[in-house]
């Protein structure tokens, strides 16, 4: 998914005007022009900006603690998930996230936030490449992913990733 498409989907979900995205050649970042007529660059900054303008500001957290946790997951998404290019990187990221979701339903608090939406967009390309056996290995992360993709306003045009309803493998060691 190109980040252009991601911003379209996010804007649709938030009910805000779709941004005109262009690329900052020096840092290869997406940029938009804000309503104040200023240039704003970066995947996280633009996602937060669009959310801030919408009627769903609570997706950015309702207190400082929530907001800072959301910030760190947005950063994790760009610094780590977007940089997965080898199997070994992928395993590290999936293991970490699976562990985090072992005791939680969503990344921050007990509800869907921008952290979930952004990580879902970032992980989609990885999840479509996983086998059933791998998906079963990252059980908690798969449960979360499936939950998020079943919110149609979030998933929009992205293909549904299929999960098995029953466990297929006795052991989950690969």
């Amino acid at each position: 998914m190109l980040c252009f498409e991601e911003f379209q989907s996010l804007a649709n979900f938030l009910g805000v005007e779709k941004p005109n995205v262009f690329v900052d050649e020096q840092w290869k970042r997406p940029c938009v022009e804000t309503s104040a007529g200023k240039q704003l660059c970066g995947l996280v900054s633009i996602s937060k900006y669009l959310t801030d303008k919408s009627h769903q500001r609570s997706l950015l957290g309702t207190n400082i603690e929530e907001s800072s946790l959301i910030n760190q997951w947005l950063e994790y998404r760009t610094v780590y998930i977007n940089q997965v290019h080898q199997k070994s990187d992928m395993v590290r990221v999936l293991e970490d996230l699976d562990l985090v979701l072992q005791k939680k339903v969503y990344f921050v608090g007990n509800r869907l936030t921008l952290a979930d939406i952004s990580i879902y967009y970032g992980l989609h390309r990885i999840f479509v490449s996983l086998t059933f056996q791998e998906k079963e290995k990252y059980l908690h992360l798969s449960r979360w992913f499936n939950q998020v993709q079943h919110v149609p306003e979030v998933r929009q045009t992205l293909p549904v990733v299929v999960f098995s309803k029953s466990r297929l493998y006795k052991t989950t060691t690969l």
Binding site: M1, L2, C3, E6, V23, Q26, W27, K28, R29, P30, T34, K38, L40, C41, G42, L43, V44, S45, K48, Y49, D52, L60, G61, T62, N63, I64, E65, S67, S68, L69, N71, Q72, E75, Y76, T78, V79, Y80, N82, Q83, V84, H85, Q86, K87, S88, D89, M90, R92, V93, E95, D96, L99, V100, Y121, G122, R125, I126, S129
Partner: protein, 227 residues
């Protein structure tokens, strides 16, 4: 008030994500345990939390310029600086390709600081450094203060050096440097710097080789190498 607990090298941060090794970014120090016992593992998120805690109670207004600098620091500056200094301290000489990329980053900071005295500050900060000042100052610290590098190469960025010096006069910055490095110089912390995150390292090297486009493509057309 933040209580600082030093943990032994290679120990995992207790109470957070059991048994995660410290090589994982989600448990590598510094980690801040929040009142709810959730943990922040990102230094930028920790700074963000502490600043907002001081300044605005529970009211978090969106500040686009600061957001953009924080994101640039974590995505563009930090991976290069980490790779550059690790390489420099390890081999004791400059790698030309890494060096010239880093100079572009410093140039970018320098041109911004030529038009403004410092990074944006909230009105509550007054004359105190703001979050952008803290986050970027700490990242460039080992580069700018290194004797070999600092002598000629960095000095040409006069606005950056002026800003760096001014911020460093602040008592809490002096104290933080004493706390982190003691009497040592940053180069003495070679091991910690070299023990970097493989993912971050890959990222800096591959982007430097021009292979990846970090943000624009999320990367349906960058094939994952599964070998």
């Amino acid at each position: 008030q933040v209580e600082i607990v030093k943990i032994p090298p290679k120990a995992s941060c207790s109470g957070f994500c059991n048994n995660v090794s410290t090589s994982s970014p989600i448990s590598r120090p510094p980690v801040l345990e929040l009142p709810s016992s959730e943990c922040l593992f990102s230094a930028n998120a920790i700074c963000w939390y502490l600043f907002h805690q001081r300044e605005s109670g529970n009211n978090t207004t969106f500040d686009p310029i600061t957001e953009e600098w924080l994101e640039w620091e974590s995505n563009c500056l930090q991976p290069y600086v980490t790779t550059f200094i690790a390489n420099f301290f390890e081999n004791n000489k400059l790698n030309d390709a890494l060096f010239s990329t880093l100079m572009n980053h410093l140039q970018y900071l320098d041109s911004f600081l030529t038009s403004t005295p410092h990074f944006p500050r909230s009105s509550a900060s007054g004359t105190l450094p703001g979050i952008g000042d803290v986050v970027i100052w700490s990242t460039v610290y080992p580069v700018i203060t290194d004797e070999k590098l600092g002598a000629d190469t960095v000095k040409k960025f006069s606005s950056l050096c002026r800003w760096f010096h001014e911020i460093g006069l602040n008592e809490s910055f002096k104290e933080a440097v004493r706390y982190v490095f003691g009497e040592k110089k940053p180069s003495a912390c070679k091991e910690t710097l070299i023990e970097k995150d493989p993912l971050l390292h890959n990222f800096a090297l591959s982007t430097q080789r021009g292979k990846l486009v970090p943000q624009v493509i999320n990367s349906s057309d960058v094939e994952m190498n599964t070998s």
